[in-house]
Amino acid sequence: MELAFIIEKFILITVIFLITLTIAAYSTLAERKIAGFLQDRVGPNRAGPGGMFQPLADGLKMFFKEEIIPAESSTTLFILGPSLALLTALIGSAVIPWGESVQIAGTLVSLQVTDINVGILYIFGVVSLGVYGIMIGGWASNNKFSLMGAIRAASQSISYEIPMGLSIIALLMTTNTLSMKEIAEQQHGINWNIFYQPLGFLIFLVCSFAETNRTPFDLPECETELVGGYHTEYSGFKMGAFMFSEYINMFVSSAVMSTLYFGGYNYPGMDWVNSMAGPLFGPLVGMAVLILKIFAFIFFFMWVRWTVPRFRYDQLMNLGWKVLIPLAIANIVITGIVITIIDKL
């Protein structure tokens, strides 16, 4: 029993890991294709049919580039930085419920790596650790531009964690649970949380852009002021690790937003599909729906990147502290009042 459990989880983790890496790799291609589409040009189309092998070519290029470690920098921390960035990006997907339990040969197999009863807080903790990779890498580079990027990343991440946490509190007040699995189960059919928490979702979305360092919040790597930001001194695969962790972060935060606000694996008419497809393929359809929602969010991330210009630093801080935090607190108060009124009725 114990061994079977370990094997089951091992297979699940491997599959999720592979899906995450594949989607992150193809996000780089999608980003360039979407940029091409928005700027009315073709985008990469030389490697393979329609540019399908471009991520492989990029990966090979990263591997074969020269690894440069700057003199007078702390070598251990210089290598630790990108490794930590990649690690914290990958561990976030552990608590996301990818679908309902699948029935294989009479036993129910959960499509979630672990259902800890503080799942949302775990996600929040992983998000708050994410900045260490950038900070350590930026500091260890021994370069003032890298340091500036690292410090910007740290202050931006801390500022936007607060409204993010407050918007989650309002969500918790309506769901009454911290477990990701229960939150997903509550949103059966089209009973999605977005209809109860529209303002909370908006705040969460803006904060996810800030936490993943995507435009218009990509000040840590602002090339017009800071050369390349925190990864100025990085080359080869360590640079690739930073870039890759950004795309994985985007994938994981899209998955979190889909699960928390857009029903996760739930979709209208899922009962009918489940009764038609059976206990093995029904949940897999749900998983496919979740991945489609994630793709929609990733497209949105890219759409915004190529549409909205970067903020100025004071605008970023004003938005975080003077707009989002008061809005998030107002959202909590309104949610509380509405819940009390509904309870009294």
């Binding site: 702390s74 921390l77 800890i116 009863n117 503080v118 807080l121 775990y122 929040f124 903790g125 998000v127 708050s128 650790l129 900045v131 260490y132 900070m135 350590i136 500091w139 340091l147 690292a150 410090i151 740290a154 202050s155 991440s157 801390i158 964690e161 911290l178």
Partner: protein
Amino acid sequence: MSISLFYLVALLSIFFALMVIFSKNPVHSVLYLIVTFFTFTIHYILLNAQFLAIVNFIVYMGAIMVLFLFVLMLLNLNESSTEYRSNIMKMVGLIAGMCLVITLVGSVKALNASDPLVLQTQDLGLVKNLGKVLFSKFLLPFEISSILLLSAMVGAVLLAKKDIKQV
């Protein structure tokens, strides 16, 4: 299993805590402190206090240590700038440290080792139980500590203002 795991994690905590003191570079010290806090998180999980574990993870590892690192990176401490400690400073440090050791040894001796610590409920650390206890039995201390935090926050904002008269 659980006991041996505890001893392993406890050993790691002490090791990394010592590394905080013994590393020359202050940034390395902070990084070792982060790892020390991570071992504390594992201790909480071993005690089945999941909420405390995750709060320790978020608040100490994710927020406070980021601020520590932030300040240290701005200060840019070099090897040369830290070598100002005079012999008097070292003596004062030694005396203070010895006082702390005596206090700790005294308090450990005063502990009645034969009293086993018994948890009233096994699942006390889960979010639901902790919330219920906080909002019923310990409501007053809980609210007072929130006022304490608020006043600390107001004080910090007041200190950060440069010209109080103009406000």
